[in-house]
Amino acid sequence: MEVAVPTTASFKRLIISALIVPIGMMSCIAVILALQIKSLSDTAAIVEHANATVTQANRVEKLTIDLETGLRGYLLTADKDFLAPFVNARDELARETDALRPLFGDNFAQVARLDEIVVLRKQWVGFAERSIAALERKDPNYLAEARTKVGKILIDTSRAKFVELIGREEQLRDERSRAARRASWMTLVTIAVVTLLGGLLLGWLARRQFLALAGTYQHALGESHQLNMTLEQRVTERTKQVEERSTQLAEANRELEAFSYSISHDLRAPMRHISGFAELLRKSAGPGMSADDNDNLTIIFDTAKNAGRMVDDLLALSRIGRQHLKKTNVDVNEIVRLVIRVLEPETRGRQVEWRVPVLPPINADSNLLRMVFQNLLANSVKYSAKKPSAVIELGASQDNGHVTYFIRDNGEGFDMQYVHKLFGVFQRLHRSEEFEGTGIGLANVRRIITRHGGRVWAEGKLGEGATLFFSLPLTETSST
């Protein structure tokens, strides 16, 4: 059976996607941040530039004040010492103004203003130099030009222009500064929003992947559970099969027994007919029959009789298998007495010594147990027939919840090599000419004892006798 267990490849894909998605998101945020920071620093540079411009402009303005202050001092005192700042500022002014101009860059309006201021300054410097030259010439009207207020107008205009210039520059700077602040706010807000959204997205993605993973595992778990179930089911099925098989076996066994019963049943009639008609023939022939014919008829008669007996024994065997056990507390001594009396005709004229102690009772089917003793004692009587004085001894012992009975004789015995054949059906250890029998008696004994939950065994030595044992479980009703 195939189970959808997550493969290594699909796991890798899962892990990679789980890593790539957040890394990608973070990279995006980083890029956005970098761009924002760059634009912020750009704005900061612009603001700084504007500041520098304003500072430079102020320096230029300061030089202008120096120019004016120097001129004023000299014109008031005619002392050349006061003129020094004027001279310095005049030289410096051109340099500083030149330094200021490129700071405006592309802002032509400011450059134009500056140029205007430069022109005004130049005119004013011209006025100043003319006034200074008039004073040096000791011209009594050296203040005449100053009094026209042309110089004042020039410087005031220039200053006003300057204030405008600086004001414009400061305005620009403030605008950029505000823009920069807005931009940084925007950046913060963007980062916050992007981080929040990204976090949510990541969370959602992670949850989805986790659920997918959990789903896969649940599925795999379910399938493995199902596999377990299938296994259990298979065990149950197999057990059922075994049960069915044993039922079938029991059925087959019953059928076999029924078959053996009906076969032996059907065989009885022909055996009876053979011996019957042989007998009729003997009677009708009368005394005129030859000795050979008579012998042959006897053989037919005896053979049929023997076969018939075999069939009877087989019937008994099959009946033992089917019969219901009717267990009672059986007095074994009584059974033995009865069997010995039944065997009396066969021991007549022989010297047979029975050694029978008091035997313990047992819980068993009394009819079947009688059959056991009948078979075993008859066997002992039969196989000790050739001994001048037969001794048949019985006994019993009790241990481990079992009673063991034995029957010992000093008869023909048997070779222990063949002991395993002793209790088999149709198994004989002696030729039938020596000892007649059907080979079923001990098989019956074993069957009966086995049905009672006991066992049979034997010991023997050829020519010296045999001992047959059987043990039966001792149940409460049979305890003494």
């Binding site: 009639a269 009876r272 007919h273 019957g276 007998e279 008669f301 009789k305 018939g308 007996r309």
Partner: protein, 152 residues
């Protein structure tokens, strides 16, 4: 009326058994007429005066019916049940002569009201002995039920 004159009805499907049983009865010195039926249907026809047989109409109902158990068409137990179900034959002596020593066959037979149950012995000596004893008892020693002999 003498018992010797009464018939013996032998219901048996095996020709060999009919011959041997007849021989055994004759060997026992019984001269009674022996009617043999080959199965249960013939036996019922004979007794109930159906079919080819005239049956008991001449006043000589059988002294005993020797009935085999296992037969074709109708077996011994069915024959027994039919005979006992009829008022005229409730007391007719019937003895099972069968190979079956099965306990349940015996129980069923006795429950159906059989008068005797004899298992055919395997050895011929014992068979002869058994048939002689059954024949002599039912045909000679036994007094038949009065109403049966007076009937018809």
């Amino acid at each position: 009326m003498s018992n010797e004159l009464k018939r013996i009805l032998l219901v048996e499907d095996s020709v060999n058994d009919i011959k041997l049983t007849t021989a055994a009865l004759r060997a026992a010195g019984l001269a009674n007429e022996i009617i043999s039926c080959r199965d249960g249907v013939e036996a019922i026809e004979y007794l109930f005066r159906q079919g080819q047989h005239e049956g008991c109409n001449d006043g000589s109902c059988p002294a005993v019916v020797l009935l085999d158990l296992k037969m074709p068409r109708m077996d011994g137990l069915e024959v027994l049940a039919k005979i006992r179900a009829d008022d005229r034959f409730k007391t007719l002596p019937i003895v099972m002569i069968t190979s079956s020593a099965e306990e349940q066959d015996m129980v069923k037979s006795y429950n159906l009201g059989v008068n005797g149950y004899v298992v055919k012995p395997v050895t011929h000596d014992e068979f002869l002995k058994a048939i002689r004893e059954v024949g002599l008892f039912w045909a000679v020693v036994n007094q038949p039920p009065p109403q049966l002999s007076k009937r018809v």
